[in-house]
Amino acid sequence: MMRILAGLALALVMALQMAAFPAAAQPEGLAKHVTAQLVADQQGVAPGGTVRVALRQQIQKGWHTYWRNSGDSGEATRIKWDLPAGWQAGDFTWPAPRKLPVGPLMNYGYEGEVLLPVAITAPASAKVGDKVTLKAKASFLVCAEICVPEDDDLSLTLPVTAGPAAPDPTWAKPIADTLAAAPKPAALAAVFQPRPGGVALAITGAALKGAELAQAYFFPFDSTVIDHAKPQAIERGPDGLTLTLAPGYGFQGGKAPASVAGVLEAGGKAYELTAAPGAPPPGASGLGPPAAEGQGGDNLGLAAAALFAVLGGLILNLMPCVFPILAMKAASLAGHGGGESHAEARTQGLAFGAGSVLTFLALAGGLIALKAAGSAVGWGFQLQSPPVVAVLCLLMLAVALNLSGLFEVGTSLQGAGSGLASRGGALGAFFTGALAVVVAAPCTAPFMGPALGWALTQPPVAALVVFLALGIGFAAPFVLVAFAPGLLSRLPKPGAWMELFRKALAFPMYGAAAWLAWVLAQQAGADDLAKLFAAAVVVALAAWLAGLAQRRAALGGKPVILTAGAGVLAALAVATVVWPQDEAAELQTEPYSPARVAALRAEGRPVFVNYTAAWCVSCQVNDKVALSTHAVAQAFARHKVAYLKADWTKRDGAIAAELASHGRAGVPLYLVYGTNGGEGVILPSILTPDIVVKAVEAADRH
């Protein structure tokens, strides 16, 4: 009776405890999460010989054990040997670990199955024929979301053999493979240097030349050196790489460790290294970050890239924005088909080629300069500015109206072969080339974006070569036609059909104009679209007036008023879309400091941080088209958003470090901190009012 009562009481207590500690209800340590055993690469060991014995861990799915540096939490596997007198055990050879992120933390360890080999040396006095039992107590922490310390008493019995023992049929190969793949010193030179953006770890050596570095990662031996969870920014150099590491406890209070040792994993190999304090050598940087995976650009040699660029340039000729212009120009060349004007055709071909190639190079130069200045730009950057988009749209419309026959540019097409046109021919062709590139840009952006993006990660010279190749490819068909009399004579002779052809070609241009109007609507909203449409109507009116004037002039009249009217209207239309918005809403801002952010967040307010600079074009564009709009101002007021500006116009170490910690080398960067704490949300580099409003709403909802 008493026993039953006691049993009931115990059951009650246990039930209460279970209820009180739901998460701890599963008693830990009862079920094993790791099966451990000792395995040897030989079937025995000779006196004085060495056998590799590995601790084999078979780890339950979803669980992991730890590397020698466990990272932010956890504990490395340990082993304590109990060996007969004279026998000696070395340390574990640690295979390169895996990164195991847990929430905001980072661990280093192993999943699945791992072998941790140890060299065990027999004494010379070991007696042949004896069976020796190697005993060890292994302790390891095994974790999934929760952690369980497990211990195992393990043993392995091996005979002492007269000569070298035979390899173990099961374990010789896995152990040898593990040892072969384990991190090894590889004559790499390494130095580290604390910098405002983080600790630079520069590693150079023959093993890294030409290695795939996109996944390069440094696992430190000591857990106090770096903040494990932070990303490691990679910069390649001709002789190696530089990793920018977030400093750990070891760098607190202005101190620095005497050395930084660990494992560099790069290109599928793992190297052991020890870095001393010092300035990084120039060969460890300068080539930018590796191309993102998937683009496959990293292995693309310069020659191959240039070849692709030539092909890309050729294809551009067929783009709807370009083909009409080129087709008409080529057709006009056909007028030079007759003997004496071949030279003229050649001149025009060359002038056109020069015009397009130089325009490509000028755009590339501008892009490189902007990039160097810290602006996050890509190809098509000229399209990030709504006024430019609007003007291009009007230009497309004007070209389309011209093709439709509303007015003529210079002389009529039919007169292209006349002496008058030949005189201005070379210059005209040059500008046709330039114009063709400018109008080609909207088409290049979607098609060539990734390839040009790759080119921009290269040193400026390589980037220029790629752009040059693109220009050559672009100009090639036209120049070829101009230079090949056979081709030229094969082109259909100008005639009445051209008028038809030309009018048909107007429609792709109308399409391009419509597309640009859509782009503008995305960037700037309905108000600007309305302005653009008004301007488009005015442009059409101006074109009609110009055509009227031209026809009067052709009849011998002097239509000064008509011509002037057309010019004024055209200028008015362009001015309408270029003129800055006057309805901009100024937002209250205050200067950024980390302390101010912390204080505002403590008040429970959402915080919007704008990392900007006066020289950053896209920042200014974003300010204009997104941040200074009524919609954003209202959203900020509604959600009581604190708006902080981090101005990077002048050099500022704190801001640079902040940018680096978000993996950015420059501005713009927009961060929105929610009211619930947690990390700031990074907004896209190209803002629209809608993006900002939504982000602010999300920040307040938390």
Binding site: A20, P104, I146, P194, Y249, A602
Partner: protein, 205 residues
């Protein structure tokens, strides 16, 4: 030169630490916080202005926490220090459904079972205080001096093992830091590597 370097280091740390882990800086004001305790009272760091405050991150199911409570060393230190006027706040940042998540009730039951002897148990299931302090482990310890500045941060001692045997001969960093503060000495070891289980934050965050 030294001043410049530490300024640089401070800039580095501020810059790098802000977004993911607004890690407190040694010698800098401790980040303010507010939370409910196990009894449902609101506690704020400012309530304890002028006092030395210990923050202890805990997780009732973590074997490293078990090492210090099972042996009684944690409770002994809590008892001694609170008797001498130190405020001891035990914080649980385990998310709901994660190991060691505390409601007021479960926290009280755990405190009674372990003979916990601190000032208050703070319920931080949202992980707000934990993230603010960059608390990585259980136990992760912080000592805030009477002026409200971070005087110590890191592990409770120098033995990063779950094995209770490892307590023997351990260097008790927190106890030593508190002794230094009481004696008006600079803290000999103001920063150490924290160790233990990971704080069981809601990973979705």
């Amino acid at each position: 030169m030294i001043a410049r370097r530490s300024l640089l280091a401070a800039a580095v740390c501020l810059g790098l630490a802000a977004p993911a882990f607004a890690e407190p800086q040694l010698g800098q004001p401790a980040p303010p916080f507010k939370a409910l305790d196990a009894q449902g009272h609101e506690r704020s760091l400012s309530d304890f202005a002028g006092k030395t405050v210990v923050l202890e991150w805990t997780n009732s199911g973590c074997p490293y926490v078990g090492k210090h409570y099972g042996s009684g060393t944690m409770q002994a230190l809590q008892k001694k220090e609170t008797a001498e006027g130190v405020v001891w706040l035990t914080v649980s940042s385990s998310a709901p459904d994660m190991q060691g998540y505390f409601t007021g009730k479960t926290a009280q039951a755990w405190a009674a079972k372990e003979h916990w002897a601190g000032t208050a148990i703070l319920l931080d299931g949202a992980g707000k205080i934990g993230r603010e302090y960059g608390a990585k482990n259980t136990p992760h310890m912080f000592v805030i001096d009477k002026a409200g500045r971070i005087a110590y941060m890191g592990g409770i001692d120098d033995r990063p093992y779950a094995d209770p045997e490892s307590l023997k001969g351990a260097k008790p960093y927190v106890a030593l830091a508190l002794a230094d503060l009481k004696a008006g000495r600079p803290v000999a070891t103001p920063v150490s590597q924290p160790y233990g289980c990971s704080v069981k934050y809601n990973s979705a965050e």
